[in-house]
Symmetry: C2
């Protein structure tokens, strides 16, 4: 496979953004990416736009984004993989270059969720399973699904509500240091435990917010990348997997099978193991999701994620810093932007541009773990400086 | 670039299909594709699903399709490029194999448009431009957009309503020979000219129907393809382009710029010219769109499409048979399925399995031209036996 590098990154402010429309939000991320790569729209051959949609009126979101970025005329596609749409857009741009189809591509993830009220948002996200069975007939919601994961994990491994809460505390701490984060307030464990119950054992502070936001990457072929930058960050591997639409058909709730398959494939392609990852972003749409990821990605043994968070092993200074950008939990989760945002942050980490939240870089390897739905999709992307 | 071949094709009945839900419709196309390739779901590494959505309730259509096809666990993405979503799904599967990421991939295009009433459908399709400006503020609809193309072409080149009508007559003739077509009735020119006015000069019979339907392709790497079949059909080139979201920003209405760019790129990649194409499917969502395609793809000189249809040059026996499966006009246009459906038909043509509508195959080269929106997207795919 031809090598492909990240040569430019950009990130919008995440949050509630009534000040800006969908293509403007994409532009807020794309402009710094162009500047970072020292490229202009005419240099781009192909654009993939990761966005789930449903909360905004534009029916052809990729087209309005493309026009606003000055990319009309270029190859274009919209990628949707639920909450992993951003990673899917990166994968699509990656494969387009890796196949030799083009030399320079842009992946933009963008979502504007605040155009609908919270209840409509909850409905739309609740439909992100098997609509007919699990939403329409049984009224499942997203916090409800992840509560199933949490309760099974608690029963099997003794994981506690406090340990779930510690994930939120860690990610809010890092979110408070990220000027682009949606939630920038550091919190204490008591804040989590005393917050409003959503779906037992998940409370308000166990849940990520619905956010508006965008992130952008510019990718280039090996030859092009070397002509553009002295610090390319290579996409070493992309592992992709999926799982049943019906969550009720899963055999196990204390793991996400899609994460197990996607990470196994990614580690194999990149020829690295979990112990060699310097820094990771994992999909913490709910606190339990981050604990599942520790185990499913092999950062710790099965059942030991609670201990890992207890010991601070996923903070800077620990075994493997996780979500030092605040994660979905505090940075926010504009669905289509999330996967791209992870890779923006990790690229900066590998370039040692992490500032106050720079993790120690020993092997020059980072991992982005992006889940769509409740494990319906998983993309695991491994980067190397 | 690594070579990629089509090794299996399948097609559902197109039409109004209240008898079947979205994943079942996809299955109706995927099952014969598996049989054609002599493969089972376990042999597939990656699935791309082309579907625009908006008319059915499922929020994660690719996931429900994947589960129903027995492909849970595989790499998965949904591709949207408006009415070119099917071609985008094929391109995505193609690049995933051509990059070396995997060996066997499936591209399924599926749409179920009949779940909404016609007016809602017209609204949803009308939003497939720049919603804020051109739908919300000016109330543009799709027939309205294509009427602009038609009137400019009539003014510049003397194209007549009769010539538009002849496209419908030809495509209904071939649709009447395609058991999977939505509209299977041959019509006369008078039927078109006397049909209800929609947006002058486009009448009811100048417009394709809104359809339910699905089509599927199985693609394989060169090595795998050669082990599977003696009659692989190679994807020689994919040209991709786009244009402004605002149709009002276009400088020219008698051509689609996206078609000009995408076809130029595809011809260059495949190292063939329009004269070497044995048979083509072009995007005839309205009769004028087929005439624009003749010229933009170089099948005739600019302004001579009317003459080309007058002379029967795009029928079997003419210079280049076009839409011998009935085209969007008669076969139907389930948005996400259309691009894949074109390639199913052309693969059968190149394999000389066209039956009553077999075109003469001299060079073994076929072309699929799939437009998204009103030229917002264009994918041109060149196949070779």
């Amino acid at each position: 496979m031809k090598r492909v590098a990240i040569v430019g990154v950009g990130h919008s402010k995440f949050g509630v953004r009534p000040d800006i429309n969908l293509p403007e939000l994409a532009f807020e991320a794309a402009k710094p990416a162009f500047e970072d790569a020292n490229l202009t729209p005419k240099d781009i051959d192909f654009l993939s736009v990761g966005t789930a949609g449903g909360w905004y009126e534009e029916f052809l979101p990729a087209v309005v984004v493309s026009e606003y970025l000055g990319l009309s005329g270029k190859g274009l596609v919209r990628c949707e993989a639920a909450c992993a749409s951003g990673s899917a857009a990166v994968a699509t741009a990656f494969h387009t270059i890796a196949s030799g189809q083009c030399d320079v591509a842009m992946a933009v993830g963008v979502e504007k969720m605040s155009e609908v009220d919270t209840l409509t948002g909850v409905e739309l996200i609740g439909r992100a399973g098997y609509y007919t069975w699990e939403f329409h007939n049984f009224g499942m919601t997203f916090p409800g699904y992840y509560a199933l994961h949490a309760t099974q994990h608690m029963k099997k491994y003794g994981t506690t509500e406090e340990q779930l809460g510690e994930v939120a505390v860690k990610n809010h701490k890092y979110g408070s240091m990220n000027p682009n984060a949606h939630l920038q307030r550091a919190i204490q464990l008591d804040d989590v435990l005393s917050s409003r119950m959503v779906a037992w054992p998940l409370k308000l502070y166990d849940c990520c917010p619905m956010s508006d936001g965008a992130a952008a990457l510019i990718l280039a072929s090996e030859e092009k990348a070397k002509s553009l930058t002295d610090s390319p960050v290579w996409i070493e591997a992309i592992g992709m997997s999926s799982d049943t639409a019906n969550v009720s058909k899963r055999v196990e709730y204390s793991s996400l099978l899609a994460t197990l398959i996607a990470s196994k494939n990614a580690f194999k392609q990149a020829n690295v193991g979990p112990d060699q990852i310097d820094v990771a972003d994992v999909h913490d749409c709910f606190t339990i999701a981050e604990l599942l990821a520790y185990e499913d990605l092999g950062f710790c043994k099965k059942g030991e994620a609670g201990k890992m968070i207890d010991e601070g092993q996923t903070e800077i200074g620990g075994k493997i810093p996780v979500n030092v950008d605040g994660g979905l939990k505090a940075k926010g989760h504009p669905i289509g932007a999330t996967g791209v945002s992870m890779m923006v942050g990790l690229t900066r980490q590998l370039r040692k541009q992490g500032g106050k939240v720079q993790a120690p870089i020993k092997n020059g390897v980072a991992l982005a773990h992006n889940v769509g739905g409740t494990g319906h999709y998983c993309y695991v992307t491994i980067l190397r400086s």
